[in-house]
């Protein structure tokens, strides 16, 4: 006798409905029910951060959240950051600065760094390293992750700048 519960949530901007067991983890729900396999699972103890997603704009570990807790929420996974046609600056940064090797930790790391950049658009090396506390990358030694995040910050700043220029140019007319 398994009990199920109906949930409705928006994932990467798309409305989803499902009937799930209350014990189903959000990570499993995303990967197995929604086929969004970019979110990875690397531990059983909420340490590695490979499963990190955004829940209503907050960085969370989806292995620590039940799918039913996401009822009514907005979830963003790596698939929602950007695609090849339009990479998110964080993705661009990781590609250009060699911020990944095996790439298994990468989706979670990128999401958690998007969270950092939202709060702190120009983080120092130390601040980035501190913000990486919740993730483990066994491959890169973190140094190029730091460079990748700094590069992303620059790209975001440039994009904002040009937006401002456009707006102010528009205002001038």
């Amino acid at each position: 006798m398994t009990f199920t519960k109906k949930i409705a949530l928006s994932v990467n901007g798309v409305q989803k409905q499902a009937e799930v067991e209350p014990r189903l983890l959000l990570a499993h729900f995303l990967r197995e029910d929604l086929n969004l396999t970019g979110t990875h699972i690397g531990c059983d103890t909420s340490q590695c951060g490979a499963c990190t997603v955004m829940l209503n704009g907050e960085v969370v570990k989806s292995c620590t959240v039940l799918a039913v807790q996401a009822d009514g929420a907005h979830v963003t996974t790596v698939e929602g950051l950007g695609d090849m046609e339009q990479l998110h600056p964080i993705q661009q940064g990781f590609w250009e600065k060699h911020g990944l090797q095996c790439g298994f930790c990468t989706p979670g790391v990128m999401i958690s760094m998007v969270g950092l950049l939202k709060e702190n658009p120009d983080p120092s090396e130390e601040e980035i390293r501190d913000a990486l506390e919740g993730v483990i990358c066994r491959c890169t030694g973190y140094q190029f992750i730091v460079s990748a995040v700094q590069h992303a910050a620059k790209l975001i700043a440039e994009a904002n700048q040009s937006k401002e220029t456009i707006t102010s140019a528009g205002e001038g007319r």
Binding site: H40, G42, C43, T77, Q101, D130, R138, C139, Y142
Partner: protein
């Protein structure tokens, strides 16, 4: 076409990985797929009296439960694959799933297969096993004592192997002016790639074909072994390593779990998936190192080394893992003299069974342990004779004119320039100024330490003939086919099986530069035994030095054939033809030309080929290198130890590595960072801890300290290039330089910092508590 070899290039493998489109084993979903979960022994050593799976079988959604007895005659246990000649090796037969006894906590006892992972997990709790707990032995030295419990009843003293190499340097030791001795413990570490192991198997009852997707560093080795243990032809067994989330040695070994999943799929005629949990990874995927190394270095007062004697007591765990016997013997023993001229050396290794998880390769496998003992004892020697450790190294480093250099252990170092890497590192670190600063800080009661390691390691496995001579059950040549499609686009097939190293990019750089085409027109195909005829995989930094060399040679063969076709079309001779930037042109008449793309089409259409030239354009190479390659380098680490807390702050880390020719400096640097961080991890934090009765206490990421970003300063990484003469690329391999060079650099630095306390040695990991305790002891006894 611009120059590609030696330039940083963005990775071809990244777009899918950064957009969530990677395809890892756990991402595979097949219609009708079942889910497997293993029941593991909670005891390190126990007799299995009874297993009752009836309640589990009654649970709705459970498709099957397999116990050891169910598999007898159906799935053989995976064998050990490194038999050392003359080592008196006693490989112990094991069961696929434990039958009468379990010999380490985490050994598989049963497999549940169910409709989903949650049901499978529920069912595990319903299997009842009666165990009779037996006394366990965890530490290798304890296991050798006469009163120790036996892991295998018929292996006396738990001694699995005894291996000796080198020449006994008794006379040198008798005549030595100075002998320095130290007992070092290279602690047990756990590889912990962030993707755990896993397997998905699918069987076609009509054709009898079985496909296993699994997390593998060497799918062809896995095919060879699983075909044997499942009794199926290699052509009916396909092993695919999709994207693999890191391996670091742990995904080289063959494991019973993967084979049993294959069996379950065949038996149930439904696809079965098993993904290891992190907790299982800690208990059941091979561990590494765990060697007690006693080293003695003899020499003169002026600092000249004369002889080395090494004894290694290695913990092999409860069973011989795939290549477990080779790590503390061949991998370790051949490299004990390091980068120095030491005329005579002897190594003895005792390989011991204990009730712990089997040990096998971890990034570097044996070489980091070898570098650690020699780099530590060289520092202790310097201290003994009152010489600066840099000066002592300079005195004994093999001079660059001496290469190829035959060591006392009978291996021949291909090429080297050890002096330059050391000079460069000293220069970057500002060594004399650092020493002055250290003095000043000591006066203020502060503990600054400077540690140096001038390591060399053996990589690029390796000549197959040698592999045979040392008892490795397989070859280590490498295979590549470079296939040119009619479009002029190129597929490169390799028998290596990269898992994060960026090989698709480095190999494309080699091929693109040679063919004068775009890197975007080249795709790497690897990791699938159906696509690639044979290969030996990725480990021991052999990807570029062996696999890349095969790619380079295969590309040359493509060019050779293409030239014949172009010469024929241009009505000239091959000698009269020049090939550069993707254009075949007649010497002196550049307007008479054919592009690579045109020749690709001609070769594949075959409308007008010269006599004796067969259609299509492919080059193939089965490259068996004449020797190993020996990357080397000088690492300098600066630390500050807090005298109150024992906390160690890493202040600087300088690495000058010589990995031969560098294909992609950005990727090479990434490898250096990753390796150094793992090496520092071993030096300062990582370590598997067992309780007396064999429970793994450090069994999750909460209890096993993995290196985190904030622990590190910026690593200053630099390269010097001394090409290797043993392969056409001149490449040496970079993957393991960090795990080899870093532990001794860091420990030497901390010991240097602790000199005012008279502390000479502490076992890794150098936790604050251990360092504090050592200082406190000295304070109390002062």
């Amino acid at each position: 076409m611009a120059k590609l070899i030696g330039t940083p290039q963005k990775r071809k493998e990244d777009p899918k990985l950064i957009t969530g489109n990677g395809h890892f084993t756990d991402d595979i979903k097949l219609p009708g797929m079942l889910y497997g979960a293993f029941l593991r022994s909670p005891h390190a050593h126990a007799r299995i009296l009874k297993i009752d799976a009836s309640k589990a079988l009654e649970l709705p959604g459970v498709a099957a439960v397999y116990t050891g007895n169910d598999l007898v005659g159906k799935v053989k246990a995976v064998p050990a694959m490194w038999f050392l000649p003359g080592a008196d090796l006693k490989p112990k037969d094991r069961s696929t799933l434990a039958v009468d006894k379990t010999r380490y906590a985490g050994e598989c006892v049963a497999l549940v297969v169910a409709e989903n992972r949650y049901i499978a997990r529920d069912a595990l709790d319903l299997i009842e096993v009666d165990y009779e707990d037996l006394q366990a032995v965890v530490h290798q030295e304890a296991a050798l004592l006469p009163e120790a419990p036996l892991v295998h009843d018929d292996v006396e003293n738990n001694l699995a192997l005894l291996w000796k190499a080198g020449e006994i340097p008794d006379e040198e030791f008798q005549n030595a002016e100075v002998v320095v001795r130290q007992r070092l413990y290279n602690q047990r570490v756990i590889p912990n790639p962030i993707e755990t192991r896993g397997a998905v198997a699918q069987y076609n009852p009509g054709s009898g074909e079985l496909t296993i997707w699994c997390t593998s560093q060497n799918p062809h080795i896995h095919r060879m072994v699983y075909a044997d243990v499942l009794d199926i032809s290699e052509s009916k067994l396909q092993i695919v390593a999709p994207d693999v989330g890191g391996g670091f040695g742990s995904k080289i070994a063959t494991y019973n779990e993967e084979a049993v999943i294959g069996h379950a799929a065949r038996d149930l005629k439904r696809p079965v998936k098993w993904i290891e949990e992190r907790k299982e990874h800690f208990m059941a995927t091979t561990h590494a190192r765990d060697e007690v190394i006693e080293v003695e270095l003899a020499g003169k007062r002026d600092g000249t080394f004369t002889a080395l004697r090494v004894k290694n007591t290695a913990n092999l765990g409860a069973y011989l893992s795939t290549f477990g016997a080779g790590c503390p013997t061949i991998d370790f023993g051949l490299m004990v003299t390091g980068a120095y001229t030491i005329p005579k050396a002897e190594v003895v290794t005792y390989g011991v069974y204990t009730n712990t998880t089997p040990t096998d390769a971890y990034r570097g496998a044996g070489k980091p342990e070898a570098a650690f003992q020699i780099e530590r004892i060289v520092d202790l020697f310097a201290q003994e004779i009152g010489m600066d450790p840099v000066e002592l190294r300079q005195k004994n480093l093999i001079p660059k004119e001496a290469f190829p250099y035959s060591t006392a252990m009978g291996v021949s170092y291909d090429s080297g320039n050890y002096q330059d890497t050391l000079d460069r590192a000293l220069d970057i670190a500002g060594y004399p100024a650092l020493r002055k600063e250290q003095e000043k800080m000591r006066e203020q009661g502060k503990l600054l330490g400077i540690g140096i390691s001038t390591y060399v390691e053996l990589c690029g496995f390796g000549p197959s003939k040698v592999a045979g001579a040392i008892g490795f059950q397989g070859g280590v040549w490498e295979n590549s086919t470079v296939r040119v499609h009619p479009s002029g686009k190129v597929a490169v097939f390799t028998g290596t099986s990269p898992h994060g190293q960026g090989t698709a990019t480095t190999f494309a750089q080699v091929v693109a530069e040679k063919l004068g085409i775009s890197i975007d027109d080249i795709e790497l195909i690897s990791g699938d035994t159906r696509s690639v005829s044979m290969g030996w995989g990725t480990y021991g930094s052999r990807n570029t030095a062996v696999g890349g060399a095969a790619v380079s040679i295969a590309t040359d063969r493509v060019i050779e054939k293409a030239k014949k076709i172009a010469a024929h079309e241009l009505e000239t001779s091959v000698e009269e033809l020049e090939f550069s930037e993707g254009i075949f042109a007649v010497k002196g008449a550049p307007e008479r030309k054919r592009s690579f793309r045109e020749i690709a089409k001609s070769a594949n259409f075959a409308w007008n080929l010269p006599d004796g030239v067969e259609p299509s354009l492919e080059g193939q190479s089965f490259f068996d290198p004449p020797n190993f390659v020996y990357p080397f380098g000088a690492h300098i680490c600066v630390v500050e130890v807090d005298p109150q807390t024992g906390e160690i702050e890493l202040k600087r880390y300088v690495a000058v590595d010589d990995i031969g020719r560098v294909i992609n400096p950005m990727l090479a640097e990434g490898q250096v960072h990753g390796g150094i961080v793992q090496g520092i991890g071993q030096a300062l934090w990582e370590g598997a801890v067992y309780s007396e009765n064999g429970q793994l206490l450090s069994g999750t990421f909460m209890d096993y300290t993995m290196p985190k970003a904030r622990f590190f300063p910026t690593i200053e990484s630099h390269f010097i290039e001394t090409p290797s003469p043993v392969n056409p690329l001149g490449a040496k391999g970079v993957g393991e330089t960090g795990t080899t060079g870093a532990p001794p650099a860091v420990v030497n630095a901390v010991m240097d910092a602790l000199r005012p306390f008279g502390i000479k040695d502490l076992d890794m990991p150098l936790t604050p508590e251990k360092v504090w305790r050592a200082m406190q002891n000295r304070r109390e006894n002062a």
